[in-house]
Subunit: 532 residues, 2 copies
Amino acid sequence: MSDETEPAAQAAPGRGGGLTRRALLVGVGAAGGAGAMFAAMGALGLAPESQEKDFTPPQPSDFSLSGKAAAKVVVLGASIAGLTCAYELGKAGYDCTVLEASGRVGGRTITLRTGDRLDELGGEPQTAAFEEGTYFNAGAGRIAPWMVTMDYCRELGVPIETFVNNNASAYVYNENMTAPVRARTARADLYGYVAELLAKASNAGALNRRLTADDRERLAEFLRRFGDLGSDLTYRGSERRGFETYPGVDRGVPLGATPSLRDVLAAGTGRAVTMDFGYDQAMPMFQPVGGMDTIAGALADAVGRDRIRTGTPVTGIRNLPDGVEVTHRGGTVRADYCIATLPPHLLARLPHNLGTPVTAALRTPVPVSAGKIGLEYGRRWWEIDDRIYGGVTETDLDITHIWYPSHGYHSRGGLLVGYYNVGPNADLYGALSHSDRRKRALTQGKKIHGEKYRSELRSSVSIAWRRTPYIEGGWVGWPSHEGAFALLQRPAGRVYFAGDWLTQLIAWQAGAMESARRTVTELHRRVLSATS
Amino acid sequence: MSDETEPAAQAAPGRGGGLTRRALLVGVGAAGGAGAMFAAMGALGLAPESQEKDFTPPQPSDFSLSGKAAAKVVVLGASIAGLTCAYELGKAGYDCTVLEASGRVGGRTITLRTGDRLDELGGEPQTAAFEEGTYFNAGAGRIAPWMVTMDYCRELGVPIETFVNNNASAYVYNENMTAPVRARTARADLYGYVAELLAKASNAGALNRRLTADDRERLAEFLRRFGDLGSDLTYRGSERRGFETYPGVDRGVPLGATPSLRDVLAAGTGRAVTMDFGYDQAMPMFQPVGGMDTIAGALADAVGRDRIRTGTPVTGIRNLPDGVEVTHRGGTVRADYCIATLPPHLLARLPHNLGTPVTAALRTPVPVSAGKIGLEYGRRWWEIDDRIYGGVTETDLDITHIWYPSHGYHSRGGLLVGYYNVGPNADLYGALSHSDRRKRALTQGKKIHGEKYRSELRSSVSIAWRRTPYIEGGWVGWPSHEGAFALLQRPAGRVYFAGDWLTQLIAWQAGAMESARRTVTELHRRVLSATS
């Protein structure tokens, strides 16, 4: 047996990393010929877009050819990464034990329902007192359709529904405004003026050196459509802005006067209007029906609840000549291999014999603060009064966003996310008691939604991820993807690492799952090729 | 009793129409003081945006003050307009009878499930042979959140879910392309180049006469964000385009080279990229769970199924001195009033004594062709292979759109809308037999989705609205909103008209409902004020 890692795992996570890895996988036979051919075609632009990352789960039959047997693996953390590792290894008969410090599975996919308790380091515990059926996704909240999370939902039978990440009827509110504006209004005005400016610049000859007459005609056609311009290429407002009273039997009553170009630019609505342009934010997005923790729950069921020991904080990790030894508050577990999925800054604190470079590497990523508050109301005033069904109001207030629920439409009550902030704003709220967080969040939200935002509140729960036991951060940021990041992709002896923090999808469940798949692939390959 | 119409009903549907009507409603006491005050505030820009159109349903107590009694009303057509009229009048105890020519309720909100038969004028009937649980919304398919349709869903307890009207992962395909592109890619490239062109024109001084230095700085900040430009204001592609392989442990594998500005303009993706900019198309939109006809079904249940006679085509309408007489294939119905909700071009053919101006007015709007095909597959390849969950692929082919289902995600099979076209394209398909429509639709869709689009088909049903009995059109278009349109807002004696065709929301269920509310309000006011 060797502690050496396969070359594939050493590939730096650069642009060519995926391909290098694939090519190597072909070499070691871990991916089929057809899949490799497809990947090569894709690289040459010959195949349709593929989200595949060529993962083949370990199978019992893998051992029949090798003459080896599945190993015993201790997984640290019933996180998404930890559960995915145990689930995938379990498919081939690996004997996995998952040690989880907290009382629940799922790591940062905490979903709170009535009666659930939320502890806080140095703070008072909270207990959710929601109506039956209300839930609060305090952590992970949305899934992009290309993410592997969707595949796990399908495979595990977790029903999903659309998550509204961008809503034209939601508001944009910045401190410099006298009143919130609808996202559709902000968009229509920004696009209208941008189209007008460019169309007129083109008409005045400013683009003649770059564009042919044909190009300019096509551009003008697009801009008229994009900005809803008049035939003179002027923007004078548009039905796209929405209405004071929407059309019915009669024409609609327009909103007030369209603001000037200067006022539109000064309002600063650009961040809100472009909020879903990113590849990880584009509409539509998705969520499991009934709460994000449904995925972790389904994984835990598939792993086998008897393999998962909650309330079992790990106190030490030791590589042995022929295995690993993990100590925890209740005893010791010995296994052939270990997969550690705790947040790196917590792993760094554990006694271990993995060497000082590993400790230094684990200390390299910087924890990021993030916070959320769930505000429960007995009446869905955002639907009834504001016609907002799901989506996000963007603000430059310290609450940053308000999320409206994308489920339970038209039911009696519901729960908003009253802030979802990161960095300094999250620190600001995190330093407060829960009741002061609520007070501050209500004062801010009231600027957008008026007095009912305070007066109709039923209950609330807030989370400060830096103060959440056994997690202590929303996620981490890396100063670079070389050095420490690359080192921890490799096992330290018989101890592997996995988690969103070891991927390009930090803070996404998909990152945890992708990392788990990589780790499982490499551990399994090692077991199949082990000489002892 | 008088055949005169109230002034409110005579108001032309111009911009001031809504206010005039409201002011009049205040005068006759049909709307409360607070509501009228709110409307006046809104007109002055003092109140938040309101979708209210000040409808107060008739109530039994309305009669206790007037000394009058509810009347008998015969409603022609169990359309959305007809059912809404009977439902709202029923709240005050009106004795309504609904005569429906076809075998089903709901008019153009046809939802087909397995075993349902679809007749066609001059064509072979089709019978849906879907899997259990599959449905095809052959007519109305989506609801905007500001529409009154949402209020009826809430009031009637019809559960709703998000309808994905725009999906960044869906494709754009025009005949001039060698391969389809993802909507997100088309958007990123168009926005990137538009931003670059305007930012550089601004930098070169082309906007100096219009914008101050501060304005230009704000504009540049927006454009960098909008186009994801480099620091030199150049667009060189963006992660927003999507990936060949999305990021995971490793960075994503980018799509092929970003096309040139000229190629992006020539591709003609502008219509697709702006498809949800309209106030009636903006995301998110909604649909009833289980099929659009759930709304019509709930209305029919609320009206009372015993009041609705299906299979009862009307053959004549006569105003009498003290009532109306409607003849139908099975006999005659006499009532105090009639509300006719058939399509105007079918109403125009009925024998009646409403006068030649009414006939001429009914002949004025022009029926519009529209067609859809439902293509059922045993495997959701669009989700599994293409990562498309709901939404629309836009094309310049004669199929115009492909709609992917916004429900039943991850279930075994599902149904696409293989075309939804109007006008000449709808005529082209409508003139074919069903099997030829299917063949043509598959040939077109195959250009986007490849051979599986044909080979994996399970079953199909198509509708040609111009050939649908008792409807004969997708909707109608008016040459103007004066003259005939205004005339038919008024009753012809005791015969009222209602339907989406009498509103600014043609082809929307909301139009039918708004028209019904207007008609109910006016009929009820007349009953309350009648002298005989």
